[in-house]
Symmetry: D2
Subunit: 283 residues, 4 copies
């Protein structure tokens, strides 16, 4: 069954939920999920509503047009998506492939509804796996000298394949602003620490040196500032003095996989709203 | 600021959210929190809405009457509560007092908004603490021979003090149906295992014998069947072969305290809806 | 570098650690890991010691013989293993393949040091994956009528391949005692609940009906009694009223994968000691 | 029953465990707990051994002297403690009293074996509680102008009462080096974030601004550099966009209490070894 999904935010005031749900109800829509949130400090209201397209009296290509009067009334920042649109994703990896494997097997198990179209890497390690899995693999080596040029090539490929979402699944290159700005709120990264602790390189080595008793992983949207984008999900796990850096890397992989997967899944389900440099996740 | 809180469930159909929120909006109400849930299997709809009484055009003693037409339209099981009503609670304990201490200190820290009126115990251990804290303490010893009679005495005291909620904070007596039936969905118990595992007596000893690697705690509403009532919250913690039964008891207390507290707090905030033998917690 | 690993238990008495470590020290051994535990209730002592073979004055084929006098002195139940022996494992699956995928990718990532030799299934679903991965796949359909005969066939194959450890990675057939008795403490199963809760079939459906707020997974050695063997590891995760049975199955898979993996890894590293129906895990 | 507890570290080499356990065994000691750890990077060996004093052939006042030859042989940094020595602790608080309450009730429940002698505060809030509990309370207001002088007064009181361990249970004053240097590795602080994230003031507000999805707490030994001392324990808990700063403070308190308690308990049990700026916790 297909659904329409409204994600909206606006200055808080009375009656927003009533007007939005009434809009849907009067057009024959059956709401299957509704969630709202008010940021009391900022006085901003957020709403996510999901309703059945079947029986809805407005055809899907006219829904946004009709809703725009409601949106204007409340000065909304909004979008309406449809659950049967299958987003196209490209996964960027380097040499650690556990997140790629994980996303792929969740995908073929039906838990990551997307068009898993493309893997791009600065190394050749993932080529064999992609060949077996039947996923396009593009090897684009990157050096400091070739970075700008290679990013242009990456962007061309992404545009050519009409990619909706870029997933950095342990891609060990820092993307330039020029790249990031092409996909605002559409690049998700996994960082292998509980940000803001241990941003930058070698977070497990940093954690080991510091002697922390928990390690973590963070998925976030990418902005030009390294490891500073809006956090989508985080998780942590206990370590002890017995765990070497290699142990932390191994143990942390289990976090990275789940934390990245959840972020990608929520994005695909239109459950994430960014504002300021934070996220509202309507889980 | 005072709020009205509607908790309702009904057979699922279109338009419930729209009609409910419209009811509030048209009477000048500002909704500050709204949550809904649909049990797809049972086709049952649940809603919780919280709105400001200030500015609401219906006086509080007439709200339920006005809302009853909406409730009838959807065949709702419902109630409306007011956030400034301070519920009166009675805490039953035996000899383990950690949950009592915990509830009390959360109460005086402002995290458990209630009238912490009364402690009843079959032992005298809590008497000194209650005297210091300034809480009424009633010592009612219970033996198999005197149980029925003593329960009557307990019920008299609860009625006399107009107790809204009974909290069994490690009360090691099994209440009879005669008692339980007087406070349906208004008695919360903490059981020191992750139910349904290790129901009944000595759950830590059972867990130790079984060799489990996690232990847990469960808060639930009490029904006549022992440890079988609707589960409100649960949590678990890792143990190892090094932990003796005494260690498990000590470690488990940290779970018991939090799991019981959360259940009591949610109950006081009108966030729990029971149906069948399960709960919906609008956390 | 190669190591010898002693796992032993015996009635508790003075001096065991001293005598054991002295035995190794006097023969030039460098202990890199030593752990011990005393079950005070049962008065049983457990020890695990790992030392470098390089520089040890006793050749590996004579170590057990030399140690036997120490073992006799304390009436030990013991074995000495060598870290460079690569155990051969066979993985049994049915239609849910997430645990198989997971074990495989940990294996090729170097985190599961074994000879991943063989997959046996009563369904054909895993055939394609195994072909790609280059792992032998044997399809052995099982019906109530053919079970005994097919188990004999399975046992033949296991014997033929000299399998050391059988991993039931969501294998949905109950093994008979005749089978289990051939591999005592050498069959590891993953059960998708926090045992002892929800033993038997459809544990997620059972959990949903009960309305629990946490679900879990348990890895254990298999004994003839279904889901009753010594527990090796468990973990749990929170669910809410919003989670359907399908959601629980999806969420629970993340537990199953890690909990099974940890059990297999610990077994391969000679870190698990069974006694009674419990385990000591020298993690 | 009384025990001797050896905590030692030294450059790693062969035979340390054997020599240490042999030392105890030959003098009739029954080892009830032994744990060791080797930091492979730094090539440092750590050992903790606990044995029964009953039956030990060396009187307790001569044990250290006899052991010193072993210690010299391996160039150990070491100390031997006795389990029946009851350490005297002083708890410093300001206005948040949840950690004080928690430590106190664990103490009277028998879970924190110490002489809970003294509470010092720069505010009067804890006075009433201390009076009821029968604990000495000293009110020492601190202003920037009076800080040095008041710290001298605090130090006098600590010396006078022969305090072994200072616990900063949400004491909102930064201690000077002059103070800290008097109690090296004998001041434990609770910081309300997962360090190194959000060091310094108002960590919950920092966490809220950053939009993290987990918050944490850290217990550590105090060194002159603020929030930089060796970490003893940490824990984290999930938050969502719905949680205000006030919610985070409330939720985080449950972490703070347990994380501080565990650190204090481990310290009292001689389970913590500091090296570099890290800890080994023989839990």
């Amino acid at each position: 069954m297909a659904y329409a999904i409204l994600l909206a935010s606006c200055p808080d005031q009375k009656g927003i939920t009533a007007v939005v749900t009434d809009f849907i109800y009067r057009r024959g829509g059956n709401i299957v999920d509704a969630d709202q949130h008010t940021d009391m400090d900022a006085s901003v209201f957020f709403i996510r509503v999901k309703w059945e397209l079947e029986g809805f009296l407005v055809s899907r290509d006219r829904i946004s047009e009709e809703f725009s009067s409601v949106a204007e009334q409340f000065s909304m920042d909004w979008r309406i998506s449809f659950s049967d649109h299958v987003p196209r994703i490209a996964v960027f990896v380097s040499r650690h492939l556990h997140c790629l494997y994980d996303l792929w097997f969740r995908h073929i198990s039906g838990h990551l509804p997307c068009d898993f179209r493309l893997v791009i890497s600065n190394h050749a390690d993932a080529a064999f796996f992609c060949a077996q899995a039947g996923v396009d693999f593009v090897h684009i080596p990157v050096s400091p000298q070739t970075k700008d040029e290679q990013e242009l090539r990456q962007l061309e490929i992404l545009a050519d394949r009409q990619i909706d979402l870029v997933v950095l699944a342990r891609y060990h290159q820092i993307l330039t602003s020029a790249f990031v700005d092409q996909y605002p709120r559409r690049i998700i990264n996994i960082h292998h620490s509980f940000l803001p602790a241990f941003a930058g390189g070698s977070p497990y080595a940093q954690a080991y040196q510091k002697g922390v008793k928990i390690i973590g992983a963070t998925s976030h949207y990418v902005i030009p500032e390294l490891d500073q984008g809006p956090i989508i999900d985080q998780d942590t796990v206990r370590v002890t003095h017995r765990d070497s850096i290699a142990d932390m890397m191994r143990i942390g992989q289990d976090l990275e996989r789940v934390v990245l997967y959840k972020a990608v899944r929520w994005h695909l389900e239109h459950k994430i709203f960014c504002y300021g440099n934070k996220t509202v996740v309507f889980d």
